[in-house]
Amino acid sequence: MRQIWICALFLLACTMAGTQDSPWASMVVSVETEFGQPLGSSLSDANHTSEVGEVGASTALTKGANTPSFALPFGNPAQVTGVAREALAASPLGRYRSPAAQYGIKSEKLSPLLPGQSVYFQQSTTKFQGSGILPSGANAAAVLHDNGYVSIYSAAVPLLFDLNKVKIAGEDSLGLFVGSTSASSVHYCAVRVYDCDKKVWVNPSMFLPFKTDTKAPKILSLALLDADGGRSAIPSGEGAATRTSKEGKAPAAKIPESYPQGSYSLAIRALDTLSGRELKSGLYRFRLVVDGQVLFDRRLDKAAAGYDGLSFMEGKTPSSATVNAQGAFLVGSYFFAAGIHNLELTAYDYVGNYTRLNQKIQFR
């Protein structure tokens, strides 16, 4: 009962926040990355684990390969390989899910989502660096709002903050993008929203009244992974039938070969799409029905901030535990008994467009 009340209050707060006038509604021209989307620089490197040296720390770098644009102090650099490379790729720096959404905004002014007071700023071009000085790769500012939320804005491009301004009204700017050629230039800014009371990161899309996303998200694959080795039991979406909110009935799906009954981890590869000049609102909800029963129904509305990191869709912490090397959403482990099962996965975007995937799977 208490949980229902908390959810109801949370949704009410978000709805109220979203209905307020926000300068972002008119400024946003694109959405680059979405809340909770699997990210990582090493996602494409997942198949490179069989390189030289299973346990070796490093191996010689071939001449001319990956040479940096700056000089190195020593002539013969090596590269980390094998097991060491895989460990780096699996860390929260290798792959993770971010509570930020990155927007392209068409304004030289950076305004907050809601009025509030400035509580933090940092600049990447710090004069000093070294022990005890936080190295910052981005310019960032944080604003505390009356509803107890803190919104954080960060950008890699130079930002000039008004350091003396504490109270930020609706029309005020936190800072100005420096070096833009014109007022119509598009600047990219990552936005995060933290609910201080509930200790959760809130999907910032809630503050942006999208009106022009008419295209459904796309399910690239639904895979069942073995509990031990993490191998895909079902090839990426083969034999599956999909239909979207704009289409009619799905064609009948083929039944692929059978698999041993047991527990499988579910991996979903999906993305939101856009058409023409529309914006994508971002993936928001996954619902899996097995033989007419809802196995899970989870939303990307918030991410809990735990001791060991971030938990998206009630998943494990850190967030890297819910992303695999292919960049799929790992949504938990489920038992499948022997027999033919009908899996129906529906992926919704934030404004309600959806895609449904039907797959019959035989377990023996």
């Binding site: 720390a57 954080i152 350091l163």
Partner: protein, 383 residues
């Protein structure tokens, strides 16, 4: 009889007042003999590139033997030089920042390479460079190598061969970091702090609700941990901001000092414990604050207070010997170099365009636009 008793009471009261006044004066106004910064030489930067250049513009000084490598971060260049003034590596700072940043100490150099999606880790003792296939913001301190995720919500520590030692994702946004040999302290925007062991295990966590100070907004705006990990200090909260000092008792850190500040800083400020943990120096909106561990008292270092009140102030603190600190501060186009000893500023000189300060083998070095100016300190500061 009554008169004598009255006189005795009067004498006792006067004695108490004198003792109390002496205690207050001695505990909050430490004394220090003035130090003198004597210029040694200036080393002009050579052109950028991996080359060895002898850039001495003065005769060799041989203060200590040559061969020891020192890192520097100039306004436009960074790299290494040795005691005899020979630069062994010089790189362009702007290029490095455009590539994702860099970090260095006397042993390790981390250079981000965003176009290749990796970090280059150079180990000068082992004489090798390793390509680490990770992106992040480099940080090197106390001979430890870190990469901070670009959104400041995760960190990885690397071994010197480029392999992963440990990694950790945070629930909040990192706003401060301080490291010791076996422990590290991480402060966050939501007001929590975490003390992490050398193996990456969480050894202590202080939630915002457990902090005794009650500012209007809870966030960590600076942190420091002593070299032995026995003390931590925080610049905490807004409206008002506090300086909080904790000492380790068993597995816990317990508060031992709290100072309410008059002026807030909304960006991260440096804090540093002395080499022996006897003192702490804090850059704050009120100015430099000196904390004496033995007396558990803090006082504002009067010199340079105006600089710290400016909103664009930037500062770097380094440890020197015997509880002394060197501080370089820049605000509004004005920069100064200070030596703080025993709670007093014992030396202060203008340092135009200074971008780094270092202390090695009894020599104070200051990186400026024209080169590296080196000083020796005459006169011992005493408390």
């Amino acid at each position: 009889m009554k008169v004598n008793r009255g006189k005795r009471h009067l004498k006792a009261a006067a004695l108490i007042i004198v003792v109390a006044a002496a205690y207050i004066i001695l505990s909050t106004r430490p004394v220090a003999a003035p130090s003198e910064l004597e210029p040694l030489d200036t080393l002009a930067y050579p052109p950028a590139g991996a080359e060895t250049v002898d850039s001495r513009n003065t005769p060799a000084h041989d203060v200590v033997g040559p061969g020891t490598r020192h890192s520097f971060v100039g306004p436009s260049k960074y790299g290494y030089y040795d005691n005899s003034g020979v630069f062994s590596y010089v790189a362009d700072r702007q290029t490095a920042v455009a590539n994702g940043g860099f970090a260095l100490d006397d042993c390790f150099l981390l250079q981000s390479d965003s176009s290749n999606g990796c970090i280059w880790l150079s180990d000068f003792e082992e004489g090798r460079t390793v390509r680490v296939p990770l992106e992040g913001v480099p940080y090197v301190s106390e001979r430890r190598i870190f990469l901070i995720r670009k959104d400041q919500m995760a960190v990885a520590e690397l071994n010197r061969d480029g392999t992963l030692r440990w990694s950790r994702e945070f629930g909040s946004v990192l706003t401060s970091v301080s490291t010791a040999e076996r422990v590290s302290l991480w402060g966050f925007l939501d007001g929590t702090i975490e003390v992490v062991g050398e193996d990456g295990a969480l050894t202590f966590r202080l939630d915002a609700e457990s902090v005794t100070a009650r500012p209007g907004y809870r966030g960590v705006y600076g942190s420091a941990i002593s070299r032995d990990g026995s003390m931590i200090a925080l610049l905490y909260g807004l409206a008002p901001q506090y300086l909080l000092v904790y000492e380790k008792r068993g597995e816990q850190y317990l508060p031992v000092h709290s100072r309410r500040l008059n002026a807030d800083k909304r960006n991260t400020q440096p804090l540093m414990f002395a080499d022996d943990g006897s003192a702490l120096l804090v850059a704050s909106g009120d100015g430099l604050i000196y904390y004496n561990r033995q007396r558990r008292k803090s006082a504002v270092v009067a010199a340079g207070r105006d600089l710290f009140s400016k909103s664009d102030v930037a500062c770097k603190i380094v440890r020197m010997d015997r509880g002394q600190f060197a501080v370089v501060t820049a605000a509004g186009g004005q920069s100064v170099l200070m030596v703080v000893a025993g709670g007093l500023c014992s030396a202060m000189i203008p340092a135009p365009d200074a971008s780094d300060v270092g202390w090695r083998d009894g020599v104070l070095s200051l990186a400026t636009i024209s080169g590296i100016s080196r000083f020796i300190i005459k006169g011992k500061a005493v408390n």
